[in-house]
């Protein structure tokens, strides 16, 4: 096939598509050009897919009707499902949808590698390099497939978010790795002719590798706590890119290799950026077990002794209405309660009374870095009011009221002062510097880290116990009465 004119034209379309991915991804580095960048990338993808289709119908070898129907039906069914999910998902549930799309991408890469291998097995095309790339594509693709499904399930609440460990889980993981590595060695040896394997035996070995990789994906993500899921999803995203590149080697296609390697590398960088923002190392995250409460007693002894002052919505309303500077600290609780519109309504009401309102956005507020910005932007909060941590932290000292809505660990002063705290060293919002603090949360329940927050026992702090949305609505009503 390579060599004829049509293939050459299609090749240039693929190249143009790959260029669009690179430029598009680069333009997504800045908010001003991000949307254009994504659209450019989408246009490149459309070009690559259309060119491939044109190549299949016009190439001398032609294409069978069955294959044509399969491709058409697959695009309609898969594309339709993706479109429907992407348009109907609530923005709060978006992280798990991204993980789901990542899962199917990994699954597709694994399937491409498997199907190609089914075709070459037992023929002279079954070479050492083909076997290596097939196994890499299959293993990485399968691990991402199940791993991303578990990550998605954890965020959706279908799988418990807490770290799940069981007796012998580590042994099982090691066993699975041995099966995958041993199987790979066997397949490569078979292709090299060092071991005589019948095609059936070869396929059985491949099946064992597939099964081991699928289970490995589950056991890899289960022991990791829900708070670390964003980093895990980003890591799996990088894996899928690599799997796509391996599939590209298998079928000898340049655009798959370029785009896959691009995402693999960019995803790895993004993963470290995210982990840095949470002050977590990737190794720590993958070992798992964070937030199991092992270190709870020490933290409780240090900061749990103080009493907590409860405050009524009317009192909070008076404080807010007569304040000059108010900083809102939105957290995961706000996202869960879908309270982003209520918080915007409260902020607008306060602004109409001349109060200066800003939002302090911790890098990992919400479920993923940047997730909170998306949620607030959706509720029409003006972008300039959203302040990142470094920018807003010096301003807390001047704030009359810091209103913390459903955020916990990111406001915990223990991260600054208590070296024995599990979150010690994590960058936090300096909420405790404000002249007074109002914490709106449902209960005294702990955050993901599972530790006490000395902020709540601070004499300057008033606790308003309510669901984020109900609490904010009560505040809106109360401020109107002031």
């Amino acid at each position: 096939m390579p060599g004829d004119t049509i293939y050459t034209l299609v090749f240039f379309c693929w190249l143009a598509g790959a260029a669009a991915f690179v430029v598009g991804l680069h333009r997504m580095n800045s908010p001003a050009t991000a949307r254009d960048g994504n659209r450019l990338s989408a246009a490149g993808m459309a070009l690559a897919v259309v060119a491939t289709f044109a190549y299949l119908v016009t190439r001398p070898a032609g294409i069978g009707t069955t294959a044509l129907v399969i491709i058409g039906a697959g695009i309609v069914v898969g594309g339709g499902a993706g479109l429907w999910l992407a348009r109907t998902v609530k923005m709060t549930a978006m992280p798990q949808l991204v993980s789901l799309f990542n899962a199917v991408g990994g699954g597709a890469a694994a399937l491409v590698a498997i199907e190609d291998f089914l075709r070459v097995v037992g023929t002279s095309a079954e070479t050492i390099s083909t076997s290596i790339f097939v196994v890499l594509g299959v293993v990485i693709g399968c691990v991402t497939f199940t791993g991303s499904l578990v990550a998605s399930g954890k965020l959706q609440g279908l799988v418990p978010g807490r770290p799940i460990t069981f007796r012998g889980s580590r042994l099982l993981t090691i066993g699975l790795a041995i099966v995958a590595l041993g199987g790979t060695a066997l397949l490569v040896a078979g292709a090299a002719g060092a071991v005589a394997l019948t095609p059936l035996e070869t396929l059985l070995v491949l099946t064992a590798i597939i099964a081991a990789a699928l289970i490995f994906g589950v056991t890899m993500v289960l022991p990791i706590g829900g708070a670390d899921m964003p980093v895990v999803i980003s890591l799996l995203n990088s894996f899928t890119g690599t799997a796509a590149a391996m599939a590209g080697f298998v079928i000898n296609n340049p655009v798959l290799i370029i785009a896959g390697a691009l995402v693999g590398a960019a995803g790895a960088i993004l993963t470290t950026l995210m982990a840095d923002a949470m002050n977590r190392s990737i190794g720590n995250i993958l070992v798992g077990g964070f937030g199991t409460g092992d270190s709870g007693p020490a933290a409780a002894g240090a900061g749990g002794g103080g009493t907590v002052r409860e405050i009524s919505p009317d009192d909070v309303a008076v404080q807010l209405a007569y304040a000059q500077h108010v900083i809102v600290v939105p957290g995961y609780g706000l996202a869960v309660a879908q309270a982003q519109h209520s918080v915007r309504e409260l902020a607008e009401l306060l602004e109409s009374r001349g109060v200066d309102v800003k939002y302090a956005i911790h890098p990992v507020a919400g479920r993923m870095p940047g997730h909170m910005n998306v949620l607030l932007a959706e509720a029409n909060v003006p972008y300039p009011q959203l302040k990142e941590m470094e920018e807003i932290n010096p301003e807390f000292g001047r704030a009359d009221v810091a209103l913390v809505v459903g955020a916990n660990d990111v406001t915990n002063p223990a991260a600054r002062s208590d070296a024995s705290s599990p979150i010690y060293g994590m960058p936090i919002l300096d909420v405790d510097q404000a002249k007074s603090i109002v914490v709106l949360k449902r209960s005294m329940g702990k955050g993901y880290a599972g530790i006490d927050n000395p902020l709540y026992a601070d004499p300057k702090t008033g606790m308003l116990f309510a669901d984020a949305k109900e609490g904010l609505e009560q505040l809106v009503a109360a401020v109107k009465q002031v």
Binding site: V98, A108, E115, N253, M274
Partner: protein, 108 residues
């Protein structure tokens, strides 16, 4: 080694370096959209699924090819649309304190 494979390995190595460079100082605000955007790009595996589907010729191959194409298409279409939805919310508003034009409607 096969020259075509060597060329592919060179492309692979350069594309990895490109991937490291293309993402630099990204504000945390954009981490999620960027991840989602990168997620859509590996949907390129759809092209691989289409090529492999064209060569399928027995029932198992047909089934695998169909699932691969459907998975790839879901990754591509869903990924780009959801990323666009996220980024649409970063649309530029007037700098400073101007309230949004459609902010007059009462909250839900």
């Amino acid at each position: 080694m096969d020259p075509a494979l060597l060329a592919a390995l060179a492309i692979f190595a350069l594309a990895i370096l490109l991937g490291f460079e293309v993402i630099s100082k990204v504000p945390a605000t954009l981490h999620t959209p960027l991840m989602s955007g990168a997620n859509s790009i590996h949907g390129i595996v759809l092209v691989g699924a289409m090529l492999i589907a064209a060569g399928a010729h027995e029932p198992l191959g047909y089934v695998l090819a169909f699932v691969a194409v459907a998975f790839g298409a879901a990754n591509v279409v869903g990924g780009y649309v959801v990323t666009d939805r996220m980024l649409q919310m970063f649309r530029r508003r007037e700098p400073g304190r101007t309230p949004p034009a459609d902010g007059a409607k009462p909250g839900t």
